[in-house]
């Protein structure tokens, strides 16, 4: 019976990856009860992780998977196409979604009325579906459709923060995000106009035949700017600090680790699979634009982070800097550099999601995420605070953490490109991270809690577990790099080679 079922669906896993969470989201509305909705979400989220793992395994063993939605062959129908690059991103998105869900009921109860939790889980699953949908699809317009699903649900999730500033942050994100999405739509329109197709592989091949022209150049510009807004590339990042600061804690943990990563994936996909290295970098010199911007982002994000008193906002600015590293990897356009950028998608998701869950725990116990709330936490919430320290070390890029791995490959990439000043700047910007992480560590271990402060206890297990799963991951994957770096470097080789 089980075997028969498996034989039936085993070829349809790419489609089920999207279909199951989406159907589960609608089920959450129907069941309505808070715990039932959570159970449905948990079940399907962990199922999605398993599915993504099977897909990654299959891609590693048998190569790129192509799935024709509706049974219509390419280019007439929509294709799902999963290679090493999106298999990795898919695992990140589903994994983060499932792990954060563990902490959701406890953390949400403090911020969102219980009667609304079922709607919250619905939108949460929709957001995950949107992000996963953007990741697996092989069709340029389909990326736009799922981009809008994920964006709309992200706006709704962010607006659920407990202060009124969540509303204005969500609105600001909505306006910028819609402009970004529409820019991407315009860019896709221009590509379609010059080639007549929407399938990504087909687009790449036909674009190579057409060669450079003015419409293609502007399409590249619009897609870069549109994706730049969605991935919060400096100076288009202004929506991000507010959105991360005022969203509910679990939403920040989820969005910070997934939404910008998938936007980065989209940019990589367009640049390397559609425009491809010769058009994007040799003809149109995209690197001349992106490289300075990425370096500016690394420094601007870290510098501003140092002066923040709200730790949530501090980590948000740190994300701006980390996105700079990823884009740096993209714009180096060599194998080591791109490996560094791609592996940082995985690594940064681990550490940022873990760190934001630390903040969720602190918020739950002290009612604030401002730096004063951290006074004496090293003793009062030892496990939580230790997680912050490990995550912070990873942000800095200390050896044996994942942060080191990414920076190692970025430095190698910069040296390969003959840009040793860039390598130096990578190291220099890490020092800035030391400053802002140390500020918190100092307060946590060396500032005594204010006299008469309420007793604070260790965070509940349901928050500690996902937190340490992720923070533990930053050490495990910092030591055993074969999986993450292996997949990322193979993906980078494939992308630079021009095949997809």
């Amino acid at each position: 019976m089980i075997h028969a079922l498996w034989a039936m669906i085993s070829d349809d896993l790419p489609a089920l990856q999207i279909a199951m969470p989406l159907l589960a989201a609608t089920l959450c509305i129907i069941v309505r009860r808070r715990w039932a909705a959570w159970a449905v979400a948990m079940f399907v989220a962990w199922g999605a992780v398993a599915n993504a793992a099977v897909i990654l395994h299959r891609v590693l063993t048998t190569g790129t998977i192509s799935y024709a939605e509706g049974g219509w062959p390419v280019p007439w129908g929509i294709e799902l196409r999963i290679d090493l690059l999106n298999a990795l991103v898919l695992l990140v998105v589903t994994g983060v979604c499932a792990i954060v869900l563990l902490a959701a009921p406890r953390s949400l109860a403090a911020e969102v009325p219980e009667e609304k939790h079922y709607l919250f889980y619905t939108v949460y699953l929709l957001c995950m579906t949107g992000l996963a949908g953007m990741t697996v699809t092989g069709d340029a317009f389909n990326i736009f459709v799922f981009l809008e699903i994920s964006s709309l649900s992200a706006y709704a999730l962010i607006s659920q923060g407990s202060t009124r500033r969540a509303l204005t942050s969500a609105f600001q994100y909505l306006v910028m995000g819609t402009i970004g999405g529409t820019f991407i739509l315009l860019g896709i329109g221009m590509l379609y106009m010059t080639t007549g197709t929407l399938n990504i592989v087909d687009l790449g091949n036909r674009l190579a035949e057409v060669g450079p022209n003015r419409t293609v150049l502007v399409a590249l510009a619009f897609i870069t700017v549109g994706a730049g807004i969605k991935l919060a590339l400096f100076p288009l990042h202004i929506w991000l600090p507010n959105a991360y600061t005022y969203a509910p804690a679990v939403v920040t943990a989820f969005i910070a680790a997934t939404a910008t990563k998938v936007a980065y994936y989209v940019l990589v996909r367009f640049v390397y699979s559609i425009f491809r290295v010769d058009l994007a970098f040799e003809v149109h010199r995209l690197d001349a634009v992106l490289l300075p911007i990425a370096i500016a982002a690394m420094f601007a994000g870290s510098l501003v982070a140092i002066y923040q008193d709200d730790i949530k906002r501090m980590l948000a600015y740190s994300s701006v800097a980390q996105i700079g590293y990823m884009v740096l990897g993209l714009s180096l356009a060599n194998e080591h550099g791109l490996t560094g950028g791609l592996v940082h998608v995985f690594n940064h998701a681990l550490m940022k999601c873990g760190l934001f869950l630390v903040l969720a725990a602190v918020l739950l116990r002290t009612g604030s995420t401002r730096i004063e709330a951290f006074a004496g936490l090293g003793r009062r919430m030892p496990l939580t605070f230790a997680a912050f320290v490990v995550g912070g070390l990873s942000l800095i890029g200390v050896p044996l953490t994942v942060g080191f791995v990414s920076k190692w490959y970025l430095v190698l990439g910069a040296l390969d490109a003959g840009l040793w000043p860039v390598a130096l700047l990578i190291l220099l910007s890490s020092l800035l991270a030391v400053v802002y992480v140390w500020r918190v560590v100092e307060v946590g271990y060396f500032t005594p809690p204010p006299a008469g402060a309420e007793a604070v206890t260790e965070a509940p297990f349901s928050v500690l577990l996902p937190m340490w799963l992720l923070i533990g991951g930053t050490v495990v994957f910092g030591v055993f790099t074969s999986l993450s770096v292996g997949v990322a470097s193979a993906a980078a080789r494939m992308l630079i080679g021009g095949a997809s």
Partner: protein, 191 residues
């Protein structure tokens, strides 16, 4: 004849778009936006996109306008003009973006040119095989629901997301108030 209609519609659309910038009265601006949508729908008909025209007329001129009016009833219907100082940066940004798009047009196929790439590849397949594959005369329906049915499922999900999003934002007013009170009674730094 159709070209004349095309020209007149374009003129009206341009006038309306500029008027929206200037208008202080939000009620009038919303009505103009409804008219903008309706005129666009007419333009889509001229360009043979009857399904799109139908949708734009019912959504843009209908539902959107109703929602805008409902929002105006709950908020302000006047823009505060003192906030509209002239700012140079937005104008520069728009001129630059528009310039880039203008630059792009010079390698685009001319309007209506049957030899444009999009009329040579993929689309002819739909025109040729829809009859045999699907047996539905309206090719737009066939492509929408079958060839690109996955997109349309995504589109339906977008609508679902909007509905649930609005429920999250506006639903259960009393529930939210109770939650606020309970929270601020529990801890002082509630909000």
């Amino acid at each position: 004849m159709l070209d004349l209609v095309h020209l007149v519609l374009f003129t009206f659309l341009a006038v309306i778009a500029v008027a929206v910038i200037r208008l202080k009265d939000l009620f009038a601006a919303v009505m103009l936006m409804g008219i903008f949508s309706f005129l666009s729908a007419c333009l889509f008909t001229v360009m043979d996109a009857v399904d799109v025209a139908f949708t734009e007329a019912s959504v843009g001129a209908g539902i959107s306008t109703i929602l805008m009016l409902a929002t105006l009833a709950l908020t302000d219907s006047e823009e505060h003009p003192e906030h509209n100082r002239f700012k140079l940066l937005p104008l520069l940004a728009v001129v630059f973006t528009g310039g880039a798009l203008l630059y792009a047009t010079f390698d685009m196929p001319l309007y209506g040119d049957p030899s444009a790439p999009i009329h040579q590849y993929v689309a002819p397949h739909y025109l040729e095989f829809t009859g045999a594959d699907i047996g539905v005369p309206n090719i737009v329906t066939a492509v929408l629901a079958s060839y690109r049915g996955y997109d349309t499922w995504g589109e339906t999900t977008v609508i679902l997301t909007a509905g649930v999003g609005v429920l999250l934002l506006l639903g259960g007013h009393a529930v939210v108030e109770r939650f606020r009170r309970r929270r601020s009674a529990g801890d002082e730094d509630g909000e």
